[in-house]
Symmetry: C2
Subunit: 214 residues, 2 copies
């Protein structure tokens, strides 16, 4: 066996390193097959030390999934709007950037993404909490801009935006299985779906939403 | 212990009875806790006989989930259109009936429905196949009517309809957790979302779809 060099890291760095090794391993195998022993070996620490940072294997797995979700959110982060440019056109433009990077992210990380979202992980309450948090961040990315174009953030609209995220996920995963349309058409459809759904959920806000639809 | 009366049933009836006992049990506990022994006891048959009908406990569980999905589909079946009445109005009317019964079904079977859809079951490929079949039936209920109103069934539109089903599921489950709007508003939003999404996915078919939107 190869000798592993033991490097002294401060606790926060060590914890981050262990999680990051887990995220890397997640690209090649399902979560259930991520073994604490292998990760500890790779980091050059003892199994015991790993459990100093994480209460259990389950907790370690949850942190891996959380970090993995953060990376997805980072890779799909909306570009900054130039100050004062909160027009319907620029919002749709930002949205298109987010959706295009989401479609690319899911394409590149297909097995991990699909197995986490629909796999055994989703049966666990802590994992579900991570997925819910992630969806909430994705929904908020949209919702924060609405007041800027005169659209009121109502409970109904929030529900529609959550539903839209499920629409995008489902359409993208179905498309990966069977890419019946081009990537551009998929991105277009996912983008246009949002203002259409917002309008369907809040017809009384039509005058302000219509600018987004066309 | 109570003596269980053993009744002779023909094989198809016996199989159906075992599945139906499983579906009944599923209302009270998660799938993982449905024990073959208890079901065999309730049916008054031996554990061995149960395995004459199902290759394994896993197969038995899959058949329970399949039957449960069939019941959901039956309870949300669209009413028949009167002959020749394939107008936009009557389609939206049929759709409203389907969505209203779906929302009521999910409300009444909340824990079973949510735990199956998002629970450990969804990590299993055979279970996923049952969920996919169910979604396909739900999508086809919509898609078969489109040619009748002059809307062409394109791959893009099929993707949008699948996405719409995910939208309805997510909005309904979020609403159950936190019913921020009335049941009627939820049904309305779910119904209106379909033509809006169809339109967003197929703007070139706008002239025929617009009748559904208003």
């Amino acid at each position: 066996m190869e000798e592993v060099k033991r490097v002294r890291l401060d606790p926060a760095m060590r914890r981050a390193q262990l999680i990051s090794l887990g995220v890397k391993m997640l690209a090649d195998r399902p979560l259930e097959q991520i073994s604490v022993e292998e990760i500890a070996d790779q980091a050059g620490v003892s199994r015991g030390l790993l459990f100093h940072y994480f209460a259990s294997k389950h907790d370690f797995h949850v942190e891996i999934v959380r970090e993995n979700s953060h990376e997805m959110l980072k890779k799909t982060a909306p570009r900054e709007l130039r100050d004062g440019d909160v027009s319907a056109d620029s919002l749709i433009d930002v949205l298109r950037g987010v959706i295009a990077s989401y479609v690319d992210y899911v394409s590149q990380n297909r097995s991990t993404y699909v197995s986490l979202l629909r796999g055994t992980a989703s049966g666990d309450p802590d994992m579900r909490a991570v997925f819910e948090e992630t969806r909430t961040v994705m929904a908020d990315r949209v919702l924060i801009y609405l007041p800027g174009i005169g659209v009121e953030r109502t409970p109904q609209l929030e529900l529609a935006v959550r539903g839209w995220i499920a629409f995008v996920e489902e359409a993208t995963i179905s498309w990966l299985r069977d890419p019946v349309i081009s990537r551009e058409d998929l991105v277009d459809m996912n983008v246009r779906a949002l203002p259409s759904l917002a309008l369907a959920s809040s017809p009384e806000q039509a005058s302000n939403l219509l600018g987004l639809v066309n």
